[in-house]
């Protein structure tokens, strides 16, 4: 599904990624493990197109997306900070993921799917950590992406919530049939969510920044 070949990225003098390569199959959830500062987030941002890579090639479903702008890649991402739009309510955030003149009923359906029925009119600052987490996921999913990127989405939650939510996320992704890359430093959660766990240092030639 996703083929990453020879991705390199430097910030100034620091070489963050050195010829990293990875393949993610259709329907596969891959967990990318590594300590903080090892380039995990950078890799996700490069895949999403939010940063420009120095060298390498990205292919999604056979199409070369290396030069494409983020909005054209069809990739969804849940940010570590969740990046929920504070001036819109929950339904408004989800609506953002619908195409113009999209089917509004999909919003409620998606909220049901993530277990947040009736949360449409809720304000973002009134949500708990777990609820906000799920809204962020729902928003990305409703856009029907070809690939999901999850950047340490569970790190700010307490451990009880984490495992429950990790399973829920896995279920949702699997039933929607969307492949995903999940970046985390937590081995346990990685194991719960993903089909395959890869260490970022193993991505041929990644230099750990610590």
């Amino acid at each position: 599904m996703l083929t990453m070949t020879g991705i390199s990225k430097s910030y100034g003098e620091t070489l963050v990624l050195n010829r990293a390569s990875l393949v993610v199959e259709e329907d596969e959830i891959v967990a990318l493990l590594g300590p903080s500062g090892s380039g995990k987030t950078t890799l996700l941002r490069l895949i999403a197109g939010l940063e420009v890579l120095d060298e390498g090639r990205l292919e999604l479903a056979g199409e070369d997306i290396t030069e494409l702008v983020p909005e054209a890649r069809g990739i969804g991402m849940v940010f570590q900070s969740l990046a929920l739009f504070p001036h819109l309510d929950v339904a408004g955030n989800l609506r953002f993921g619908l195409p113009k003149r999209g089917d509004e009923s999909r919003i409620d359906a998606m909220l049901d799917t993530v277990g947040l029925s009736g949360f449409g009119p809720r304000r973002i600052d009134s949500l708990s950590g777990g609820e906000a987490q799920r809204v962020a996921l729902a928003r990305s999913l409703i856009a029907a992406p070809r690939l999901m990127l999850l950047d340490e989405p569970l790190s700010s939650l307490d451990s009880e919530l984490k495992s429950g939510l990790a399973m829920a996320v896995r279920d949702i992704l699997k039933s929607a049939g969307i492949p995903a890359i999940h970046v985390t430093h937590d081995e346990v959660i990685a194991g719960l969510l993903a089909d395959r766990v890869v260490r970022i240092s193993d991505l041929s030639g990644v230099e750990s920044a610590d």
Binding site: P70, E71, R73, M77, A83
Partner: protein, 560 residues
């Protein structure tokens, strides 16, 4: 966000702005250089020797420094008092204290003079003949104007600092006493904002014109020196233009270098004092001690701010008659009638029209400039970002004489009829207001969570949609404040002399006031009429500002 891509609109805006600021400057400079003979260093060395410029360099710098000190002394307690407590009508109070900044300085001068007369008649002291008293009045007047800056910069910080910071400090050995906390917690927290406010106060006191002219009539600062030479600077007839050109070149260079340094400092300071806009902002204010001396202090400061405005009102209602000073509406009648070359209602209309036009141009322009600065910062070009910031603020550093000359020459050479067009004064209005838009929007833009834009992009939103649906709505409070500033500054023609060549048909309120005051005042109705026009202008601005503050949420959109 995709730093590799060059933003075409951004570059275009930057180029246009640079041209708008630097082309007139360049034209004026080259004309002056062509007429002047002595070099700049030579002229500066001779400044003390020439009667026309004697004492102006020291006076300008001294006044600027002293004004800054006095402003901080008056402003910091006010900002503290205002910011730390939840006062009734808090937003109206904030509006009141920040309004003086946009008042036309000629009116403030008139107001202060009236106040001084009142003091003199009550106390019997002759304040005006005394040099030190004149200086004190000038410094107080500058403080009056620039209080707004201290309040604007510091109050939002004070009102929203996480209360747990102070609580934590109280429990630690170095924070047990109030003075300890003031020194080790509050001072470092506030220092960037204070320094920025101080630098801005310095800039405005340095370039002060009407107040110096009226409150300290015997003294000249650089602006006055340049204004005196304005007629002949750049005239290509050596006997007429040489001396004037030399003086203006030297003075404007000193002003430019000093101001650019101050502006660079402000830009750098503001970039270091970042605060986040999150969905919720902590309201750190405590209940207002309504029955304490703090309340009295606040009322006294409010009285201080209102006093000159009342002075203008009083002066508009007092008419000199052979019997003496009499209370009368004759001044108002004269203003509305045909006593002046323009009348009040049409001047008001034109003021509003120009204000709207300026808003429509300056707001998007300032927004795009602020975006450019932010983009440069994010791409890691910090110094370039400061350079653009200073460039955006540059109109505040340039002398009106240079710009007036530059625009005049430029248009004379290209299209003379443009000088007569009604929208040429809009150039001056836009140049003066855009820097403030940048100052207000920039901190807000910096505080937007960068991931929001990325998230929206991944959801398929085009750059335009991201701008309209995400960035602009989040900037709404700051946009409202910036709009109010633009309208208020345009109404008052803050940098009045920036408005190049006035034509009577399109006189705005400040022009009307100026006109009335520049005629020989034998006719007892002229002064009251001018003050009447002034009252209308002041009321308009004051109401505008106080209303806008109601819409500004706590802690946001506040800094300049």
């Amino acid at each position: 966000m995709r730093p590799g891509r060059v933003n075409a609109v951004g570059v275009l805006v930057l180029v246009l702005w640079t041209a708008a600021v630097l082309v007139p400057l360049g034209l004026a400079w080259s004309q002056l250089a062509a007429v002047a003979e002595a070099g700049i260093i030579e002229t500066l060395a001779d400044f003390e020797g020439r009667f026309q410029s004697q004492g102006s360099l020291q006076f300008t710098f001294v006044i600027a420094f002293l004004s800054t000190v006095i402003t901080l002394l008056l402003g910091v307690p006010l900002a503290w008092n205002l910011g730390r407590h939840r006062w009734p009508a808090h937003s109206l109070l904030r509006g009141l204290f920040t309004a003086p900044f946009v008042m036309p300085s000629i009116l403030a001068a008139m107001g202060f003079l009236t106040l001084i007369s009142v003091f003199e008649s009550i106390s019997g002291f002759d304040l005006r003949s005394n040099d030190e008293m004149q200086l004190a009045a000038l410094l107080l007047a500058h403080a009056w104007f620039n209080l707004a800056l201290v309040v604007r910069f510091c109050e939002p910080v004070l009102a929203t600092v996480d209360p747990s910071l102070e609580e934590a400090a109280r429990l630690l050995p170095r924070g047990r006493t109030r003075s300890d906390r003031l020194l080790r917690l509050w001072a470092p927290l506030l220092t960037p904002s204070l320094l920025a406010a101080a630098a801005m106060t310095f800039v405005f006191s340095f370039t002060s014109f009407a107040l110096v002219r009226h409150l300290t009539p015997g003294r000249r600062n650089l602006e006055i020196v340049m204004a005196n030479q304005a007629d002949w600077a750049g005239i290509r007839i050596p006997e007429l233009g040489r001396a004037a050109s030399e003086i203006v070149m030297a003075a404007s260079l000193v002003q430019l270098l000093t101001m650019v340094t101050a502006l660079g400092l402000i830009s750098w300071l503001q970039s270091r004092a970042r605060r986040d806009i999150s969905a919720s902002v902590v309201d750190a204010r405590t209940t207002a001690p309504v029955r304490s001396w703090k309340s009295v202090h606040l009322m006294m400061m409010a009285a201080f701010v209102l006093a000159p405005l009342l002075g203008v009102l009083v002066a508009s209602l007092q008419v000199r008659q052979p019997a003496g000073l009499v209370w009368s509406f004759d001044g108002w009648r004269a203003a509305v009638g045909s006593q002046s070359a323009t009348d009040l209602t049409s001047a008001l209309g034109w003021s509003v029209a120009y204000a709207i036009l300026t808003l429509v141009i300056a707001l998007p322009l300032g927004f795009l400039l602020a975006e450019n600065i932010h983009r440069a910062e994010r791409m890691g070009h910090g110094r370039f970002a400061i350079a653009i910031d200073v460039l955006a603020m540059l109109p505040l550093a340039l002398s009106a004489v240079m710009i007036g000359l530059g625009v005049l020459i430029g248009l004379l050479r290209t299209d003379v009829t443009m000088l007569r067009s009604w929208w040429i004064p809009a150039y001056g209005h836009v140049m003066i207001t855009t820097p403030f838009v940048v100052r207000v929007l920039l901190p807000a833009i910096r505080a937007i969570d960068p991931d929001l834009d990325g998230a929206a992009a991944l959801l398929g939103a085009s750059p335009l949609r991201r701008l309209l649906s995400i960035r602009l709505p989040l900037l709404t409070p700051s946009l409202i404040v910036a709009s109010a500033l633009v309208v208020a500054i345009s109404l008052g023609e803050f940098g009045a002399s920036w408005v190049v060549v006035r034509f009577t048909e399109w006189s705005t309120l400040p022009v009307m006031v100026d006109e009335l005051l520049s005629r020989p005042g034998f006719d007892p109705l002229l002064r009251p009429a001018a003050n009447a026009a002034g009252v209308v202008l002041l009321l308009l601005t004051l109401v505008l500002f106080m209303m806008v503050e109601r819409f500004r949420p706590l802690g946001r959109g506040g800094d300049f």
